[in-house]
Symmetry: C2
Subunit: 358 residues, 2 copies
C-alpha cells in the first residue's frame, strides 16, 4: 500500500532533512533535487525510499555532510575528483560540472571520482549536459550484488550507465540502465508482492537459476545483463566491469567486492584498495564533431524513424530510451508521487528525529 | 569441413589480394593485419571469411582502394574523419591513431568517422591504445539486422563495442562484443551445422521468439542483448542505439536502417542521411587520471581478484574479458587457422581472378 505525496511536499521535507544533518543550503538543495529526480522519473528504488539509508550512513560517520570536494589531478580533458566522503548526490553534480566545463574548452571532459557515496540515478547527471548542447555520460560502481559469468561470488554492483543525447524538436535520447538483467528495484517490487521473479534475474547460492525474488537473502546473487552465457551474460559482466574500472580504478576508489555497502549496518570490507565509491562522468560538446543544428536535426530524424519502426503484434509503438521516464514525470508532477507505507513510516521516524513534519 | 592454413600463408595471400585491387603497400599491410586479427582471435566471421565480401564491394565500386582519408574537423580532444569510402580495415586504424595522438596531448581523444566500410573486429582498434598506456574504445554501426524492443523491423546493426584497458603483469582487459544476444558469427555456425538456435537469439518475421538459426532468410530478425523486455532487451537496444549515434550522427555517416549493407548484391538504401558506415574511437591516457604504475598495479589486483572469484559448480574458473581470444591466439599461431571448405573455395576463386596462389 502507498499514498500519494506531492513533489513539493517531499521536496520541502527532504531539503529540511539534509539541512538538519548539516548540509549547506546549496548542497541540501542539490541533494534533494537529485534524490527526488528518481521518484519523478519512476525509479522508486533510488529516490525518497533511500533517504533513511543516507541518514544512517551519516549517523555511522560514513557520509560527511560538509565535504571539501576538490579536483586532485587534471589534464585539458580529464580530472580526478575526491568527494571527501560527501553525499554522492552532491559530489556527482560537482564532478559532472567539471566534465562540462572541460568540454566547453577541450571538446570533451572526462572525470573519475573517488571517495564518494551513492549518487541517486545516473540519468540525472548525464542529463546535466543537455542544456549545454552536450552529450552526457554517467556511471557508478556500487556494492557487490552481482556474479560474474561462471561464478557464485558477489563481485560487482548493478553498476548503471546513463547516456543523454540532445535533439532539436524531439525530446532528448536518455538511456539509464543497470548492467544487470533486472535492477534491484524491480526485484524489490516482486519481494513486496511476494511474487516469483522470471528465470534469468537471480541465481541461488549454488549458482542455479532461480525464481526466488528473495534469493539475495539466502546467499543468492543477481545476474549480469544477458542472464547466462548462452544469452550473452559475459557481455553484461564486461559492461559492469568497465563501469567498475572507469569509476574506481581510474580514480582510486574501492572496486569489485571491496566497494562499500549502502546499508550502514553492513560492516565495511577489509583491506579496501581505495577510497569510497567511484563514479565516472563524460561530456562531449556536439559541436566538437559537427555543427550543433545539423547534429540535432539528424537526432530528430533518428528518433522519429525509430519511433515509427513497425511495432510487433500486441505492441502499440517502439519506444525511444527516456520515453517511459518522461511520461512518468508528467503524471507524477501533477498527480503526486506514490510513496510506500513502509517508506512513509521511515520518513515519519526521520521527521521525529529532526523535528521536521512531512 | 575445414582445413588448417598457417597465419603466414593467409597473410601473404591476403596482402597480395589487397595489393591487387590497388591498395598501397602500407594499406595492404594494415588491412591484412586487421582482417586476420579476427581469425587469430577466433572471431571467424570477421576475418578471412569476409575477404570475398570486401572484394565484391570493391568491384561494385563501393570501396575505394586508394582513399584520401582525412580529418575534416577537430578540437583539442575530438576529430571527425572522412574515410573517403576506403576499406574500414584501413580507415579505422588511421582514426584510432588520431584519437591516440589527441590523448597524448589533451588527456583523451575521441574520433567519429563517416564514409567508411566494415572495419573487421572492434577489439583490434581498441587494443592499439594499449602500447601507449591508454585505454582504447572502438565501436561501429553496421547494416540493420536487429529489431528494437517491441518491433519487427530491422533498424540496427549488431553494433559492437570494444574496450581495452592496460594492466601490468596481467594481460590487458579486452572486452569486444556485439550489442545483440548472439553475434551473427554464432548464428552462422549453427546454420552450417543445421542446428537450432537457443530461444532468445532471433525472432521470426511476425515477432515470435524462434529457434530457427536460418530465420534471417525468411524475414526474421536478430534480438538486442537481453533478448526480450523482461530480460532487459531495452538495454541492448539502447546500447546498439548509442553505438549507432556516436558512430554515425556524430560524424555524418548513414545510420539506423539506412546503414549501407555489407553484401554487394544488396541495393543501397534510398535517401541515405549520411555517407557510408560510421565508427567511433576513444583513447584515454591512464596517467591522465593517476600515475600509470599505480593504475596498472590496481588493474593487476582487479584481474587477479576476479580470476579467483568462486567458480560456479561445473566451471573451472572465472574468465577475464579477453582471456578466450588470447588463448585462441596462442593455439592458432602455432597450429594454424581452420578455414571452412566453402571459404577455401572462395579464396581459390579470388586467387584465380588476380593470379595469386594460396
Amino acid at each position: 500500500m502507498s499514498q500519494k505525496i506531492s513533489y513539493q511536499q517531499l521536496y520541502t521535507f527532504t531539503n529540511a532533512v539534509f539541512s538538519a544533518i548539516g548540509c549547506s543550503e546549496k548542497d541540501a538543495t542539490t541533494a534533494t533535487t537529485v534524490l527526488l529526480s528518481a521518484d519523478i522519473r519512476g525509479i522508486d528504488s533510488h529516490g525518497i525510499a533511500r533517504l533513511t539509508g543516507y541518514i544512517r550512513l551519516w549517523e555511522a560517520k560514513r557520509i560527511n555532510a560538509t565535504p571539501d570536494i576538490k579536483i586532485t589531478y587534471e589534464t585539458p580533458s580529464t580530472a580526478v575528483v575526491d568527494g571527501d566522503a560527501g553525499l554522492g548526490l552532491v559530489v556527482a553534480p560537482y564532478a559532472m560540472q567539471v566534465a562540462i566545463d572541460k568540454a566547453a574548452i577541450a571538446g570533451t571532459g572526462w572525470v573519475s571520482v573517488r571517495n564518494s557515496n551513492h549518487f541517486g540515478i545516473a540519468g540525472y547527471h548525464a542529463m546535466m549536459a543537455l542544456k549545454h548542447d552536450m552529450t552526457g555520460i554517467a556511471m557508478t560502481n556500487a556494492s557487490a550484488l552481482v556474479a560474474p559469468t561462471f561464478s557464485t561470488e558477489r563481485m560487482l554492483g548493478t553498476n548503471p550507465i546513463a547516456v543523454a543525447i540532445p535533439a532539436n524538436e524531439q525530446p532528448p535520447f536518455v538511456a539509464d540502465f543497470a548492467t544487470t538483467t533486472a535492477s534491484n528495484g524491480k526485484l524489490e517490487i516482486l519481494q513486496r508482492k511476494n511474487e516469483a521473479s522470471p528465470l534469468g534475474w537471480v541465481q541461488d547460492k549454488e549458482g542455479n537459476n532461480s525464481t526466488d525474488a528473495h534469493a539475495l537473502k539466502t546467499g543468492g546473487i543477481m545476474l549480469p545483463l544477458g542472464s547466462d552465457r548462452e544469452h550473452g551474460s559475459h557481455k553484461g559482466y564486461a559492461l559492469g566491469s568497465i563501469v567498475d574500472i572507469f569509476s574506481a580504478i581510474f580514480s582510486g576508489a574501492s572496486y569489485g567486492p571491496w566497494a562499500p555497502p549502502f546499508p550502514a549496518y553492513v560492516p565495511m570490507p577489509e583491506n579496501m584498495p581505495g577510497k569510497g565509491l567511484g563514479h565516472f562522468f563524460g561530456a562531449m560538446r556536439i559541436d566538437a564533431f559537427r555543427p550543433a543544428d545539423e547534429f540535432k536535426q539528424h537526432m530528430d530524424n533518428w528518433i522519429t524513424r525509430f519511433r515509427n519502426a513497425t511495432p510487433a503484434p500486441g505492441h502499440e509503438k517502439v519506444l525511444i530510451p527516456g520515453d517511459p521516464e518522461r511520461e512518468m514525470e508528467l503524471i507524477r508532477m501533477t498527480e503526486g508521487i506514490p510513496v510506500n507505507d513502509s517508506v512513509c513510516d521511515e520518513l515519519d521516524a526521520i521527521g521525529k528525529k529532526f523535528g521536521i513534519k512531512l
